[in-house]
Structures are given as C-alpha cells and as structure tokens.
C-alpha cells in the first residue's frame, strides 16, 4: 500500500567526499541510493533499516534502501536522499519558466518492495 | 384633416436641439431600478426651471442590461454641452449612488462626446475607489455602506431634440385627461423618447416671456386658457373647455415624430375636438413636426 510523503533532495558531506573520488564507483552509488526516513513511518510501513522502498512520481520511479531517522531529526512524512542518478528519475523536467526543475519537497508515493522470498 | 372626427390642425410643433445622454440604471429588482430612475428624473420637467429635462425611456429586462439585472433606461437632456455633465454628476450622485442595489451604465456608447461622469463621482470613494476596464469600458467601483456602487467612467452625449409637443383640445377636463392618458400610454416605452412632465402631461403650457412681469422667462399660455377666453386673444375653438399638452424629448426627430403619431392617434377619441401644437413661428427651433404630415396627410403650414 502506497503513502504520499515529501521527499527532500540534498547534499551530504559524505556524498561530497565520495564524488571527489568517482561518481562511477560503488560508494557513490550506495550513498545516492539511500533513503532517510522517519522511524515511525518505517515501522508503520513494516520497513527496517536497509529495506527496499519504491518511490514514484509522475516523472518516474526509483528503488532505494531506507535508513531510519528519529522524529527530532526528520519529521514523519519527510524523506531525504542525496542528489544523484536515482533522484533524477523522480524529477519532472518542467521548470515553469525558471530553468530550475523542482528537486526539493517532491510529493512521492512510497511503497515497500517485498522481496520474492517475502518478508 | 380629421382623425376619427378629431380635427388635426394644420400646424407644427417647433422643437429645439438639445444635448442628450442615456443612462441605464439597474437594480437588484425592477423596483429599485425604477426608484432610482424616478428620483433621478424627478424635477426635470423643463429646462426653464430645472436646468434639464429627463424621463424614463422604458424599463429594461435582464437580457437588455450590461449586468443582466432589471433596469430602466433614462434620457437626460440639457440645452448646452456644459450643463449636461454637471446635471448628471449632481443628480446621479444624489439619486443613484444613494439608492440601494443600483448601478449606472452608459446607454450611448457611440455618443461622440464622452462625459466624465463616473470619473467625477468616484471621489466619493475618498481614495478607496477602484476602477475596472471591461470590454474596453472603464468602470468605477465606489465603496458604500451597502457594498459597492458601480458607475461607468464616461457617458456618451449626442445631439437630441427637446420640445416636441402636441395639445389636446377637449370638450371638458375629463375628456382631455382621458385622451392625454391614452396618448401617454401609447407612447410609453417608445425608444428614443421621453415625456418629461408629470405622467407625461403638462397642463400649464407656457408662452415665452411675460406681458406683465419683466423677470419671468415664461408665463401661462393665455391664448389656450379657457378661463381667459374673454380676456385675451384666445385661440380656443368654440366648445373647448380644457387643454392638455404632451411634451416629447428624444434622441432624434424621427423618434419623436413616430411617438407623436402614436400619441395623437390615441388621443383622437370622443370628447376631443382638435389636436394642435405649439410653435414660435418656426424661427427658434430647427425641428418642425407638422401634425398632418405626421398623421399621414398633407400640410400647408409654414
């Protein structure tokens, strides 16, 4: 069952240091496929750290692995991920006459991805 | 020429060129549009004493007004260009602006002169007024306690005709009045014409100037007063004991002529002896309405 949440894209220092080395390496791929999520939301959706979730917007979809954050750090309903190839998949190309695509605070459908073997 | 036994005298009504504006006043209900129209056109019978002449042209249905509400159409006339806006500003300001639910629109969009009436009235808003341009016309929105008063920024002015008339010469006062009422009813709602006097009828026809009082611009038309038959050079035929006059103002001469035809025809009824008209020898007013020609006959009158 999908829920609508707000996805914030951003930068992290770990991403910054990693991209200096290579954007094609495994470290960068891992960082840019990690989704920070409120722990209560995760519990409700039956997710635990490293569970796969599918994010979907009208532009596209991406599958990430989630990582829990306490409510004081990340309020319920808010998601965070670093910019990268996966966040690109979710962004619409319309810039509304500004040149800037919306890349923060996207409404995304969040859906746990069940492994074939079941949870 | 006789119409149903009533003599149509071979004379003409002499009318003047005036300036005319047409206002469309709408209201939340026909009642309030009418109330505003009545107050606006009250005390506007003759330029002699009222500085302007006005009357309700006709009532308008929802489909005929700019805002889709019931309304009345009003014609407003003055002798010169300058006094028309002055009269409109003071009269609309006192009678339409004040009247619940109403709005005031220009009814002569093609009028070659534009009178800045709404533009002057807007200042009642004390700076809180605002304007809107809709379909190329500018309107002012003046805040009032009820809500908002809407008035068009400018009103068209064109040349009109004032002083079309005919006189009903009757056997007695009852017959004269009945004929006058019938005439007024027949002319009601005629496009381009208003009857500025009370109920459309005037009993006190006047002549220019005074025989006795220097300052009087107009005094009673003694030649048509039955009580003065023995004292003055009366023009009343024998048997006529009461005369009533109908005065017509309008946007143009053909409209007045057409209305006169309907009015005279309706006035030709039992008890009426003759229909005549007032003129000044044809030298003062450019518009001459020959009664017999109007009624479809021949006229020899100058």
């Amino acid at each position: 069952m999908a829920e609508i949440m707000t996805l914030i894209g951003g930068r992290s220092s770990k991403q910054g240091t990693t991209l200096c080395a290579s954007k094609l390496g495994a470290a960068y791929a891992e960082i840019s496929s990690t989704l920070e999520m409120n722990v209560e939301d995760m519990a409700r959706l039956g997710l635990s750290n490293n569970s796969k979730v599918r994010l979907r917007t009208p532009a596209g979809e991406a599958i990430l692995r989630c990582k829990g954050r306490e409510t004081k750090d990340l309020p319920p309903g808010i998601l965070f991920m670093t910019y990268g190839p996966l966040s690109s998949q979710l962004m619409a190309g319309d810039t509304a006459g500004s040149g800037m695509p919306i890349s923060k605070n996207l409404d995304v459908e969040v859906e746990p991805v069940r492994d074939e073997n079941g949870p | 020429m006789l119409v149903r036994g009533v003599l149509i005298e071979d004379t003409f009504a002499e009318a003047f060129t005036m300036r005319v504006a047409r206002l469309v006043i709408t209201g939340g209900t026909p009642r309030w549009a009418r109330e505003a129209g009545l107050k606006l056109t009250g005390f506007a019978t003759s330029v002699i004493g009222c500085k302007c002449e006005a009357g309700i042209e006709r009532e308008l249905s929802e489909t005929e007004t700019p805002d889709g509400r019931p309304g009345v159409s009003v014609l407003f006339l003055t002798m010169d260009k300058e006094s028309l806006p002055q009269q409109l500003i003071s009269r609309i300001g006192q009678t339409v602006l004040t009247c619940p639910t109403t709005a005031c629109f220009d009814g002569l969009p093609d009028g070659p002169d534009r009178l800045p009436v709404g533009k002057a009235l807007r200042v009642f808003g004390d700076g809180f007024q605002g304007s809107k341009v809709i379909g190329g016309k500018r309107y002012w929105r003046v805040p009032v306690m009820e809500g908002e008063f809407l008035v068009e920024e400018t009103f068209g002015m064109q040349k009109g005709v004032g002083g079309g008339n005919f006189l009903i010469l009757a056997r007695d006062a009852d017959a004269a009045l009945a004929a006058a009422e019938a005439a007024v009813d027949a002319m009601a709602n005629h496009p381009g014409v208003v009857l500025p006097f009370p109920g459309g009828v005037v009993r006190s026809g006047s002549k220019v100037g005074s025989k006795r009082y220097k300052k009087m611009v107009a005094t009673t038309n003694d030649a048509f007063c039955p009580t003065l038959r023995a004292l003055t050079e009366s023009q009343l035929p024998e048997g006529v004991n009461s005369v009533l006059e109908i005065v017509l103002d309008g946007t143009d001469a053909p409209a007045i002529a057409a209305a006169m035809r309907l009015g005279i025809d309706a006035a030709c009824r039992p008890g009426v002896q003759a229909i005549t008209a007032g003129n000044y020898g044809g030298k003062l007013g450019p518009h001459h309405f020959h009664l017999r020609r109007i009624m479809g006959g021949e006229s020899q009158a100058a």
Binding site: A96, G97 | P66, A103, V133, I134, G135, G147, E148
Partner: protein
C-alpha cells in the same frame, strides 16, 4: 481571401517566425510569403521551406499544423486576425497592440508578453508566464484580453497593469503575482500564492483557494462589476454559470506587504477560503 499556411516540414529545432503577423504580411502574395525569412535555430530559412502557402493576405492568416516548435507568431501584431488550427510555441502575440489571435490547440509559455491591446484566445491549454512581465521588468500585460479555455501554468499575469485574463481551467502558482491592476478570472482552481505582492487588481476564483497570511478578509458580497465582467467573459466563449454571475464572493484584500489595494474574490458556494 485569406493567406493560408500549412506546415509541411516540421522544424528540427525551434523556428522563430515573427514574420507570421497580418501586419507584416499585408498585401503579400502566397509566392512572396513563401520567400520571407524565418530563423531556424541559428540559421535563416524561407518560410516556404516549412509551410505550404496559399491564398493571399487580406488581414487574416490561417495556420495549420502542430506549430509547438514555432515561436513568436503574431509578434507586434496591430490588426487583423490569426487563426491557428493546431498548437503554437512560445511568445505568441508578443508586444501585440491589436487584432485577434485564435489558437485551436495549446500555446507554449509566454503568451502575450508586453501585450497592450487586442485579444488572444487559446482553446487548449497555455504554458507558464501567460500575460506576464519579462524577467527584470516590472510591467506585464498593459492591455487587451487573453482567454484560455484550458489550464494555464505559473505566474499568470505577473506584473499585469491593465486588461483581462480569463482562464477556463486551473491556474498555476503565483497567479497575479506583483499585479499592478487588471483582472484575472480563473474558473478552475487557483494554485498557491495567488496575488503575492499585488498592488491593485482583482483575482477571481470559483473554487476555494489558500491565500497568503498577508491577505485580509473584508466581507461577503455580490460585486456588481463582476456581473459585468463575467458576462463579458461569457461572451468570449468561456462557460460562465448563472451561479457565478449571481453569486456572492468573499473579498480578501492584499497584498498587505504592498499597497493592499488588490483583491481576491472567491465564490462563496465554493466554501470558506483558507489561509495558506
């Protein structure tokens, strides 16, 4: 006879065809028109490379085809009429002072920039910046009318100083932003932050809208001018219900940061306006 242009070769990159204006084509034969210059990307080309031209110019121009890549149609137009059987690209009717453009399909961004007169009717959807000020400029539409039957994007009427914009569908964010005067009617939904920074002017919404905290509620009433305005809009082809004409509206004044002389009018039956 009108001049008819039918797209036969789609441009591979944007085509700037500011020459497609009745004023510029006045008295021009089909043969002459085909030789007029358009700008295809960074190179000049003949109009005839892209369009089959027929008829002769008599003040009316009929364009047919998907012209979504064709920009600047009707630039500087002062009179006459353009009918587009299809969609058009950006900058439709730029600097237009008179005449009429009717687009049967959609229009791109920047419909009617710096327009001061005339009328543009878009029967489909329009892009962003409809009737909006150019970047850096404080003044958008200076007069005239823009009617969109479908939806419009962000910044409808940015900096608008006079005129009417009527939208049959929804309007995007910041409709009427920095408006100086004029009227924007939105029959569909008004998105966020309508009227931000407006000094004067009216934004009319037939649906509940979230307003900025700097807008103040004034009253519920039936604005008389709106009856006139909506009937006029009805005459332009949009579907206006009697309940819109006769309705009561909430009047919200704003933007409090600026003059506070603008207003957002929200149809009452639409429910209560809320603050954003």
């Amino acid at each position: 006879m009108t001049l008819t242009l039918t797209l036969r070769t789609a441009p591979t990159v944007p085509l700037e065809a500011d020459v497609l204006s009745p004023d510029r084509l006045s008295g021009v034969s089909a043969l002459e028109a085909a030789k007029l210059t358009v700008v295809h990307g960074n190179q000049r080309a003949d109009l005839g490379e892209f369009f089959q031209v027929g008829g002769a110019a008599d003040g009316e121009l009929h364009l047919t085809g998907d012209l979504a890549q064709v920009k600047q149609i009707g630039t500087g137009m002062a009179r006459g009429r353009i009918v587009v059987h299809g969609s058009v690209g950006m900058h439709l009717g730029a600097g237009m002072t008179g005449g009429e453009i009717v687009v049967e399909g959609d229009a791109g961004d920047w419909v009617g920039p710096e327009m001061s007169g005339g009328r543009i009717v878009v029967k489909g959807n329009a892009g962003h910046m409809l009737g909006s000020a150019r970047r850096g400029s404080q003044i958008g539409v200076r007069g005239g009318e823009i009617v969109v039957f479908g939806n419009a994007g962000n910044e409808v009427g940015n900096g608008m100083r006079r005129g009417l914009i009527a939208i049959g569908g929804d309007a995007g964010d910041f409709a009427g932003v920095n408006m100086l005067a004029g009227t924007i009617v939105v029959l569909g939904r008004l998105a966020w932050r309508a009227g931000a920074g407006m000094r004067r002017g009216s934004i009319i919404s037939m649906h509940p809208a979230e307003l900025l905290p700097t807008f103040s509620y004034a009253c519920d009433y039936a604005p008389e001018f709106l009856r006139v305005c909506l009937r006029h809009v009805r005459g332009l082809g949009l579907t206006i219900a009697d309940s819109h004409v006769n309705g009561r509206y909430q009047r919200w004044c704003g933007d409090g940061i600026e003059l506070n002389r603008g207003e957002v009018l929200i149809l009452d039956s639409a429910g209560t306006a809320s603050r954003s």
